[in-house]
Point group: C2
Chain length 323, copies 2
């Protein structure tokens, strides 16, 4: 990795738009599917599948991340993970991303380069390339990411769940919310939870496996387990019931719950940012290894909540809202 | 067009993320290439060409637009035009866009809907669909757009210009800069220039025609004619000379120049935001109808500027920088 071409204390304003872009481009390696990479009016990517899967997300400083809680490389990794996970949730694999950075003039250039390194590290986990971007000035640091990918079988939508299906989850859930609660109180431990918040570990291989196994509906849990479950319930026109007993609350979450006087299951049911996958399958026999059955799908009763916990309405936080 | 589902004075915070997204989705019509549109974890698009062309841009309030100078529909049209133009500059045609909106909680919901209508109007000019997006809260209004498209022949890069080529331009140039200068002085006329700033009219059909005609290099002029010409010169390793006499300064620009005591040619040489195309062709005979030859390409002399005007260094503004 070449050293930054600026003095250690240079700001993005000192480095200048084009100098900084040149340094950023060196960080992003291009896959063989990239016919034209960063630096022209647009990138050109080879597409062999006859389709492209695309999603976009924004992250705003102070709302989606804090620079004093998460270092630049971790912000980059989180921004990439959040987007790679959206392709995972369709049953696909990401190939290419673009990144927009609207940054204050006094942002250290080293922060931008470290952000790019963390972003590139996360993309390397799935073999995806950063093929383009934009850099501009803003009083508030805003990161915009668009991800492109493809599926080998039909994409798994939110709308395919049917009564009688089983509800299953793969990947850590509640860990990042536990880490966020810890950071919010000014603590830095349990370290494993703080690390889970800083560097989510989405189960990138699981989406395609679930699609191959015939998952009927799928979503990634980014806002909160129950909130994202409600998106599946609404899109599919079904009701989902989640069973508390399906979850073994991990020891670090129990410790945080005890320290904060909170039910640790709340982190699991209402927490976001871990990016596990939540999916429905026609039968328990279809559920791939590594997934855990956590509930069931039934007919929707318009007088009942779309999502219940142990058959009852849940009165805790189900996730976060953006406004 | 259905009426907004909110009271006229509702803010985006009043409308809520999901209510606003539902209203926005009604505005965006989907082309037949859109296999999965907005509302799932990702959109899925049919790709028949074996490749996809992709570009992304950010616009920040106060830097790229002012809400008191340009109404919501115009901000939307400008944001779309800027991105559609990037595909045009590759010699391609845009098919699909995603839009991220990071907005203050007190932004009127009606502003967001009008923005979307203007955005959709501009996309309709080329038959492109808005297939996804993101909506979140930010103290500063930031718009992020990613555009996808395809080329029917090889994409035209910035790097293909060679000594002996001719330099040509198609589309209005300098009009938006004139309009911006007028608005900056608190005036609203000449109206044709203010309108040119509010609603650029990029020559969307011209990029593909130029590619078919064998353009050797191409770029869209978004930052400034001489600044963007320098990108072609640097990418191609050549020198470009622009001839003043090639430009007939339109009457409204002459009027603004006289009123502000400025050389009106400065708007043409240094102005951005009109999104004309600048391209090089091997011979004048290759230049398609509607294009104007404005200069020539020669060997690069490392001791001379990459871009000259009438053979001399140009000492006026050549474009704007983002930091």
């Amino acid at each position: 990795m070449p050293a930054a071409p600026f003095p250690p204390d240079a700001t993005v304003s000192d480095a200048g738009e084009f100098g900084l872009i040149a340094a950023l481009q060196e960080i992003f390696e291009q896959g063989e599917h990239v016919l034209v990479g960063p630096g022209d009016d647009a990138a050109v990517l080879r597409v062999r599948t006859g389709h492209v899967v695309v999603s976009t997300d924004l992250m705003v400083e102070g709302r989606h991340f804090r620079r004093d809680w998460v270092d630049a490389a971790d912000v980059g990794a989180r921004a990439a993970a959040q987007n790679l996970s959206d392709i995972n949730a369709m049953g696909g694999t990401a190939s290419s991303l673009t990144v927009g950075l609207a940054a204050p003039a006094d942002l250290p250039a080293a922060w931008a380069l470290d952000f790019a390194r963390g972003f590139a590290e996360e993309c390397a986990k799935v073999g995806a390339s950063v093929v383009g971007g934009d850099l501009t000035r803003s009083e508030v640091l805003v990161i915009s990411v668009t991800v492109l990918g493809a599926c080998t079988v039909a994409p798994v939508l939110r709308s395919g769940a049917a009564a009688g299906d089983v509800l299953a989850l793969v990947g850590r859930q509640g860990w990042a919310a536990g880490g966020l609660a810890v950071l919010g109180r000014g603590f830095r431990s349990p370290r494993v939870l703080v690390e889970a918040y800083r560097r989510p570990e989405p189960p990138y291989a699981a989406g395609q496996v679930a699609a191959d196994a015939g998952a009927t509906a799928m979503i990634d849990v980014s806002d909160g387990l129950l909130a994202d479950a409600a998106h599946v319930a609404d899109a599919s026109g079904v009701a989902l019931d989640v069973r508390r007993e399906a979850f073994a609350v991990p020891e670090p979450l129990q410790a945080v719950g005890a320290a904060l006087g909170a039910d640790p299951l709340g982190f699991i049911l209402g927490g976001g940012d871990d990016h596990p996958l939540l999916a429905t399958f026609a039968t328990a026999a279809d559920v791939p290894t590594g997934w855990q059955v956590i509930g069931s799908v039934s007919e929707r009763d318009p007088d009942q909540p779309a999502v219940t916990v142990d058959g009852q309405a849940y009165d805790g936080p189900t996730g976060w809202t953006h406004f």
